[in-house]
Symmetry: none
């Protein structure tokens, strides 16, 4: 087992012993904050951690409690029929979703660090000459994906699976969703085959796989969560954050991060594009945003393409 799978696995991460190094990023809109911290081990050596704190959406069934059981209510402002207060709820009603990456590498820390963002319009030539060599040189680990596919992790979280080795997939809740409310429903379909990195690898050959994901994924979400297909946004990211093909399922009412036009590609459009032109994604330019500190952005800049 890896070092972090030892004693730590039995107990929660020692949050209280974390030394806060800096705030990597915050989102006032999302009520989230990304932190870089350090934990000192028994022999005095420091290990980096990334901690993400995010306040959770309100749960409908707990709203009455929230109104009645608050610890304190302070009037802040009153004007005509409008007034504002600070309400302080008891701990059991103010859960914070906490995500820990430990041990974290410099790459994890950079991933969450706030940076200027630039659009790149990647032609197929850019892909083959800049992006693909870059992806191949990085060897990002997707072990956590293989753990799910092999049922070594999260087996109890699987919402649906199609076992076909070529056209099959596994549908699981995304890490970002705490599953307490449907408003921010977020699932991920991970394809079983391991040779598809991204949208750029897709051809008409993959239409059966993509149609399985769309149809079975929508059916599974309706069956398990009672959400109709017309209330789901089903899409791929380009660039993805990891290069094992996956599809995002989010509640339509939830403006999920990464659902913007500069990153998301509706699966229904991808299917139609491939049906109209089997080599669509080996021909066409694709736009995406890169942070100024990302190595891939430097590659585009070096090539005079950003």
């Amino acid at each position: 087992a890896a070092p972090h799978d030892g004693a730590a696995a039995a107990a929660p991460f020692p949050l209280a012993e974390l030394r806060l190094q800096r705030v990597l990023r915050e989102s006032a809109r999302d009520k989230a904050v990304f932190l870089h911290g350090e934990v000192t081990g028994p022999s005095g050596e420091g290990t980096d951690a990334v901690i993400i704190l995010e306040k959770t959406p309100f749960q409908e069934e707990k709203l009455s409690d929230l109104l009645k059981k608050h610890v304190k209510l302070e009037l802040q402002m009153r004007n005509d029929i409008y007034s504002t207060y600070h309400l302080y709820p008891p701990p059991e009603l103010s859960e914070i979703k906490t995500t820990v990456v430990f041990p974290a590498t410099e790459k994890h820390i950079q991933k969450y660090l706030r940076q200027d963002v630039h659009l790149v319009r990647e032609t197929w030539e850019d892909y083959t000459q800049i992006t693909l060599p870059f992806i191949q040189s990085q060897s990002f680990s997707v072990q956590w994906v293989y753990n799910i596919l092999e049922k070594k992790a999260e087996a109890d979280r699987i919402v649906h699976e199609n076992p076909d080795p070529c056209d099959g997939f596994v549908l699981v809740p995304d890490f970002k969703w705490n599953q307490n409310q449907l408003d921010d429903l977020y699932l991920i379909a991970l394809v079983r085959r391991r040779d598809l990195k991204s949208l750029r690898d897709l051809t008409a050959e993959h239409l059966p796989l993509l149609r399985n994901i769309l149809r079975e994924g929508e059916e599974a979400v309706t069956k398990r969560f009672g959400i109709a297909p017309s209330r789901l946004r089903v899409y791929l990211h380009y660039q993805p954050s990891y290069y094992h093909l996956h599809v995002h399922f989010t509640a339509l009412g939830y403006e999920a991060p990464g659902s913007g036009v500069e990153r998301a590609h509706l699966l229904a459009d991808v299917i139609d594009n491939l049906a109209a032109d089997p080599a669509f994604y080996q021909k066409r330019a694709l736009t995406f945003a890169l942070r100024a500190d990302e190595p891939l952005f430097h590659k585009f800049r070096e090539a005079g393409r950003a």
Copy 2:
């Protein structure tokens, strides 16, 4: 003084006595919820109230306390170097911003009432048989657009114009942008010709117009506001909110409403689609979201297409 300015003004609103009628709307992303409640007066009569609860952004100076002083920390999931927890903070670290409208009228309640939103996937046949007849039957006024084009309004706000009657356009700040900061920069390019309703009318014939908008619009924004093209999201809406062809220019860092994949179409993609297939938008299905109370949604439903 109005009744609500009496005794209530001295004390906080009696939240605990509020009877929760229903949830009007919730935003999982913003961690906010809009409630309709009723307060029973001394003589037994009920008075409506709207209550808005919104979790607050993290305060940097309180982060260390949050990590150290939590009441409880529950492990939810562990996979490789990633783990997620539920963290329960003490009340003083979990303030909720509470806004009360009291007494509230029916209009206040309607204002906050959410409507279900559904995706529609519109084929070309749907467009000609459902959407186009609907648009034509509505005769939406775009007089305000003509006022700008004829310089009867907002003439002093024009950022750039190309006077060509066929391939020209006017670039103006959008109403939603107050022009006080560049973070949420938002401009609109309005085409001069009056025969283009939406994306659905575009063919290869319009490529010169579209290329003018993209190139000259980006140049004008760089010149006037110092924002490089790589930091701009340039796109059309489908469905648009008015049927006179226009293009949105927003700051990339600003997640503008309507910039999601279910409504926005990057102008660069539109140009490439038309260059590859002059009749792209007269062939392909387009996805968009409609609120359940919108007349167009009823038309799709009547036709069995939603």
